[in-house]
Amino acid sequence: MDIFLQQLVNGLTIGSMFALIALGYTMVYGVMKLINFAHGDLVAGSAFVGLFVFTQLLGGQVSVLVVVGVFILTIITIALLGFTIERLAYRPLRSAPRLSAVVSALGASMVIQNGIMLLWGPQMHIFPELLPTIIWDIGGVVVSLIQVLIMALSMILMVGLYLFVEKTKIGTAIRASAIDQDAARLMGINVNNIIVTIFLIGSSLGAVGGLFIGLYYRGITFNMGWQYGLYAFVAAIIGGIGNIPGAMLGGILLGLFNAFIAGYISSTWADAFTFILLIVILIVRPTGILGERVAEKV
């Protein structure tokens, strides 16, 4: 039983990270019907920016204030980067065929990935231990400080985002733009501003995800964005792409699924089963678990 609970904790930790990153994909897709391939690379970039901020700007001495500073400065940088990508790579193609935008997204991904490589070099960088290694043993189930932090902060951010989208005026505008951009425009919503908003929010959440990866796994490489991007993308699809609670659910489910397959069957098969799950979901429920049925206009 304690093994089961331990795997649950493992799965929830990694699942929270997937969920945070998946939100970036799903929000952009929801409004723009665009798969933002550059999102995974923004996540990787966030880990590198975090490392730079910590070692170069804040002096490399660990304290609570410094850790908070690393988070804030990194989030701002990555949000601005997301904003820039939207301006340079997506906005000029707003009225172009969708395929052009997808190609542009792939291009943006390459630019960021290679940009990281040029700035920091191709070798693995090591994130410093910003948090003390504290572990609690609760009846055989071991939870570490960093795991608690990842789960708690992810939960707070996700609930916050959900409330923001459901309860505020801007949130309503986001939902309206997701349903129909033209109609939203007719209602006096500035869709361009809404798109900028979702890029800022999505990139910020991705930045937190990237920092978590740095803090938890410590080894960061310029091309790791692809791997996390892929998992988060799968999570977004499982939950129903375009659906915000769906991305959260998809991320958590994917993390748990991965942990249990790796723990009970074999880690050899974890990836294979993940993608089998994706295929099954696409066959049985093409819109994902929480995905809405889209009425096709005839």
């Binding site: 093994i3 930790t13 191709p122 070798q123 796994y217 080894g219 942990a259 790796a262 074999s266 880690s267």
Partner: protein, 374 residues
Amino acid sequence: MLQSKALVLSLVASVFLVTPVFAAETLKVGVQAPITGAYANEGQGIDQSVRLLAEQINAKGGVMGRQIEVISCDDEGTAMKAAICAKDLVNKGVSMVIGSYTSTCAEAAQTTYFRAGVLQTSDGTSDTLTEHGYWTFFRNSFPNSAEATFAADYMVKVKKYQRIAILSDFSSYADGLATAVADSVKGLGGNIVSREKVKAGSQNFTPVLTQIKSKNPDVIFYAGYYSDGGLIRSQQKGLGITADFIGGDANDNVDFLKLAGNAAAGTYIINVPSPEILPYDLAKDFLKAYKAKYNMMPPSIWTILNVDGMRAFIHAMETNKSFDTKKAADYLHTLKDYPGITGPISFAPDGNRVGSGYMAYEIQQDGSYKIVHK
């Protein structure tokens, strides 16, 4: 007008004067190494040290009058890129190739070098590398089977572990080492409670470690590379698993310490001696030159082993007074005790380096190594 004519003439003249220098024949040495990717610091180490050695030889007049020209190819640590590199280096006319770091990449490129008659030396420890019967291949390290015997003896006889867990990734080196260790442990009557595999680079090892924890081992032997080993050690501690951790040779890298962080101290690593503790003058001189040129120490012993492979190749050519690779290989297959940076170099007829000098180290609080068994 006259001036411009003179300028043209002088330009033409300079081209003619300079060309012969470019056309002088060089000895082309290929480097196939993971210069980018997860094992980048090892790849860069090999590339840098080969260039350093070439520089040293060139300064002394080259090899029988020919300057060494180093051509590098980045295999990124993947078999696919390794095969491309092999073709590329052969097309560029290299007569020897140094590398690659991983057994997988060395093996993927082997056949191409063999067919082209290009000498190849790699630190890859996978036993299969020397099992193809290619006369072109020379291993500059010692094979997995030798390490497995040492590791099994250390775990079963010296440390007297009762419950041994063995973990590896899927690469040709790691899986081969783990299997060899498992066989040797069984041969000594040891008890293996778990034999698991992880995907290199997947970063999240907690599910596998939790699985291993349920088997309650008193030691985890990890065969695989430092980029995963450091994380596994760190996550092992994070899960409160108190078992000892023994890393196979490829965990011997400065990045292992950084990745494992606080969990590094108390870890055991089994490998041939690390560069700093090599007693030979050749080693001290080379490390000094490396430090002077690159302002850092080589990332691990693997860098230096590859340099020794190259030194043996050049020694063979100079002894034969010929650049013929077949003749050099014939000479190398009977080479005995040629002084190397990593100790005397002798090759067996199958291209294996003869000898074995494995040691067990314990990592100390300050990150230094302490020899605990040899």
